[in-house]
């Protein structure tokens, strides 16, 4: 299983080559690295499909001493999502950054940073070591902040600095937790830790600090303040990557920390108080984020606030799985969460890329300026609509499958009070999606806004992402079939022992 490492190596090789390459060759080289990574990622998904999980000990040093890579169903799915979004965003970036000399210069910075970020994200999905995870988060954060401030505008610098400070604070909290847990147990590896952790003051503190740090990085409600400005002020391909992938990486790590490393603590607390708290914060995020999204009058800010809301759904998995009378429906909860992750990732990337096209065509992303866009830019409007349908959770999109599975899991766990969150959240989402679409259909009064031309590729990529999002709704069975290969999850009282 040595080819696991290639999903980390290939983007890094691409990053180094793009940094040194001539400006004109950067796109081709970057795309080559992206496609290579996509192929390896697909190969890894196939491997997990056939043989379940895999583990590689780096440098040939056995785990307590060295670092291991761990590939399971969950990491394979995250790798796949990242690769699909990554390649499509890369295609978009190719034409986005080719339009003017200034943008071309920006593109020569975009590719090294983006590939560095991609390698870091893939590393996070494979990581099996709490300290290694910190280093990987660090590299992804710095690359992501670099991408945020790519344009160098004052707004993006302010947003980027805020993002940097929040993310650094999160990393620092996480690192404090790592130091405590290492001092307490002498282990860093996920699996070895999961056997060694017992509920004591220092392990509980470590757990709290690590979770706290990761919550800041995944922008759960009270810690979401950095997300909307950062995601809305970056160039369109960067916004797509940040919203679709980067926040998900810290959520991935949160899942691993919660359900693997501290399984004995998070699974064993009576009543699952911390899990319920996360569920409540997630629900508040759904309402607050969607509400703020409805109030925005700038398209990119609206989409960014929508990310805050949609991320909230992910946190429902914690109370669902903590339920004491929850029998054998884990697959539903996992399936719903992962489907939501996928559908949101694809839909949000599509929305941000489409918003980028609109911004370029109109020169502004003010919703009120979007008059008669539906008739004049039909492809972009169609992408906005299709991606919006998936966000709302209407059939037959992937978003529908996700919300349906989450609803069933919520009901099966006997915690009916989360059900209104899912339904009302969907309604609020519908409100802001219709707000976007309604503006596009308003006929223009008097003189029509002069539109700049947008390259054809740039309008097709968001469409492809939106269509993928719908198509995934038809392929629910395969994803669910991959999920039992999510090993080492829920090995405790729920008895969902994986091969």
């Amino acid at each position: 299983m040595n080819q696991v490492i290639w999903v980390v190596l290939l983007p890094f090789v691409g990053s180094v080559v793009c940094l040194l390459a001539h400006r004109k060759a950067v796109f081709a080289l970057g795309m080559a690295a992206s496609l290579g990574t996509l192929i390896v990622s697909v190969g890894l998904v196939a491997h997990v499909w056939e043989h379940a999980s895999a583990r590689v000990e780096l440098g040939g040093w056995a785990t307590p001493l060295g670092i291991a890579l761990h590939l399971d169903g969950l990491s394979a799915l995250f790798l796949l999502l990242t690769a699909v979004v990554g390649v499509l965003v890369g295609i978009q970036a190719g034409s986005y950054f080719a339009q003017s000399p200034e943008l071309r210069a920006m593109g020569s910075r975009f590719w090294p940073l983006w590939l560095l970020l991609w390698g870091g994200l893939n590393g996070v999905y494979l990581c099996s070591d709490v300290f290694n995870a910190y280093v990987l988060l660090e590299i992804s954060t710095l690359a992501a902040v670099g991408l945020t401030i790519l344009s160098g505008s004052t707004a993006s610098l302010v947003a980027g600095l805020r993002y940097l400070l929040a993310a650094m604070f999160g990393s620092f909290m996480y690192l404090l937790g790592v130091a405590l847990i290492y001092a307490g147990t002498g282990q860093l590896d996920f699996l070895l830790l999961s056997r060694g952790v017992t509920p004591q003051v220092h392990t509980l503190t470590a757990f709290g600090l690590m979770v706290f740090g990761l919550l800041i990085k995944s922008a759960l409600l009270p810690f979401h303040f950095w997300l909307p400005p950062a995601h809305s002020s970056a160039p369109a391909p960067v916004s797509a990557v940040l919203s679709a992938l980067v926040v998900k990486a810290s959520f991935f790590l949160l899942l691993k920390i919660w359900f693997v490393v501290f399984e004995s603590i998070s699974g064993g607390t009576p009543g699952g108080m911390p899990s319920q708290l996360l569920g409540i914060l997630g629900s508040l995020a759904v309402f607050w984020g969607s509400f703020q999204a409805v109030r925005q009058s700038r398209l990119k800010l609206l989409i960014a606030y929508s990310t805050v809301g949609q991320l909230g759904y992910l946190f429902l998995i914690f109370p669902i799985l903590a339920s004491p009378d929850f029998q054998g429906h884990e697959a539903l909860a996992w399936g719903g969460t992962i489907f939501h992750l996928f559908s949101h990732g694809l839909a949000k990337a599509s929305l941000f890329l489409a918003a980028g096209c609109l911004l370029q065509a109109m020169g502004t992303d003010d919703l009120h300026a979007m008059r008669d866009i539906a008739g004049r830019l039909p492809v972009i409007t169609f992408s906005l609509g299709v991606a919006g349908v998936s966000l709302m959770g209407l059939p037959p999109s992937a978003g529908f499958v996700a919300k349906w599975m989450l609803l069933r899991a919520v009901l099966a766990s006997g915690q009916w009070w989360w059900a209104p969150v899912i339904v009302l959240g969907g309604l609020l989402t519908a409100a802001y999606v219709f707000k976007i679409l309604a503006h596009t259909f308003v006929p223009s009064e008097g003189e029509a806004l002069r539109l700049n031309s947008v390259p054809l590729v740039m309008t097709l990529v968001p469409l492809a992402l939106a269509i993928l999002c719908v198509l995934m709704g038809f392929r629910a069975d395969e994803v669910i079939a991959l999920l039992p290969a999510v090993p080492h999850f829920g090995t405790g009282k729920n008895g969902w022992e994986m091969p």
């Binding site: 780096l58 940073l113 390698g119 710095l142 401030i149 160098g152």
Partner: protein, 329 residues
């Protein structure tokens, strides 16, 4: 024994006092100076805790480099030549100039949070098992197979090669980020604000060879004693910044390509090791044969020193330097 205890008590008192004064300082210049002295006291504390590697890094990076960067920032914030009467509190205090300044309630909230976090940490540390060696016994057990004699170097460049490699990637990402902030592609044309001074030129000319010697010494020391690429790289960075500051040839003279090459070399060489080991049929990824490990580690350390030196000095030069000519300020 009691004298040592007395020293420790003084050290802790000094750390607390300096950090308290630092937080209370209303003058940014004073705060910067206090921050540097805090770093120096902290490195003494690391020595007392038996971690000379961290002490070296803290003194060099925490006090030295961070101090330079803070002074650079201070210089950028300074409104006029005289800073007699202006206190910086009247400036907008938030990133976002529209938001209001933090009031009493914010401070109270912050103190409560910090206080409870401190209490929690103290409780957690008291709760730690007394006999926690961590992985130290294991490291010494496998030390002879690692190719070096110093356990820290063995961990950094063999057992946890992956982490160190990624850390070099972090440095590269940081430099790329600063390039975005300054909207630049290389370091050429970045100049010091004041004209270089003859006395300083002579002094740096005399010091530079000694610094180069220290770089090599620290690098070589890493094999069997505290030292190694990170510490040597910081000294190299200090040398490069001093050379630049006094108007000598430094990395600002390099062409874009050559500079990028030096910057990325450490990360790229480790990447090369990773690629070769991943392609090698009988090897695990990032594994290298035992008989070559000493050579590989030395080679990686030499290149990493260069990259760390160039990266850190680029950070300093990018934040201190200006494109316009001396009269422009």
């Amino acid at each position: 024994m009691n004298l040592i205890l007395l020293f420790d008590v003084f050290l802790i008192a000094a750390l607390l006092l300096v950090s308290w004064r630092l937080l209370g300082a209303s003058d940014l210049f004073q705060a910067t100076v206090l921050f540097i002295s805090f770093g120096l006291f902290l490195s003494l504390a690391w020595i007392r805790l038996g971690a000379p590697d961290i002490a070296l890094a803290e003194a060099a990076v925490g006090a030295g480099l961070a101090g330079v960067l803070l002074f650079g920032t201070f210089k950028g914030l300074e409104p006029g030549a005289d800073r007699e009467n202006d206190s910086f509190t009247s400036e907008p205090c938030r990133l976002d100039p529209i938001s209001p300044c933090p009031g009493k309630i914010h401070l109270l909230l912050a103190f409560t949070c910090v206080g409870s976090l401190t209490t929690l940490l103290v409780l957690a540390v008291l709760d730690l098992p007394a006999t926690g060696d961590g992985l130290t016994p294991m490291v010494s057990q496998f030390l002879e197979r690692s190719g070096v004699e110093h356990p820290v170097t063995a961990v950094l460049l063999n057992f946890r090669f992956y982490d160190t490699w990624l850390e070099l990637g972090v440095l590269v990402a940081a430099v790329l980020g600063i390039l975005c902030v300054r909207n630049r592609f290389d370091l050429r044309e970045l100049k010091v604000l004041q004209a270089p001074d003859v006395m300083l030129r002579r002094l740096v000319m005399g010091l530079a060879p000694t610094m180069a010697l220290v770089v090599v010494y620290l690098l070589w020391l890493g094999d069997h004693a505290p030292g190694g690429a990170f510490q040597a790289g910081v000294v190299l960075a200090a040398m490069l910044v001093l050379l630049w500051f006094s108007g000598h040839a430094s990395i600002t003279g390099l062409s874009r390509m050559l500079w990028l090459f030096c910057l990325i070399a450490g990360f790229a060489v480790m990447l090369l090791v990773a690629v070769v080991s991943a392609l090698w049929p009988e090897m695990r990824p990032l594994e290298f044969p035992e008989e070559w490990s000493a050579m590989i580690i030395l080679g990686v350390e030499v290149v990493a020193t260069l990259s760390i030196g160039v990266a850190l000095s680029s950070l300093a030069i990018l934040s201190l330097g200006a494109v316009d000519d001396p009269g422009g300020s």
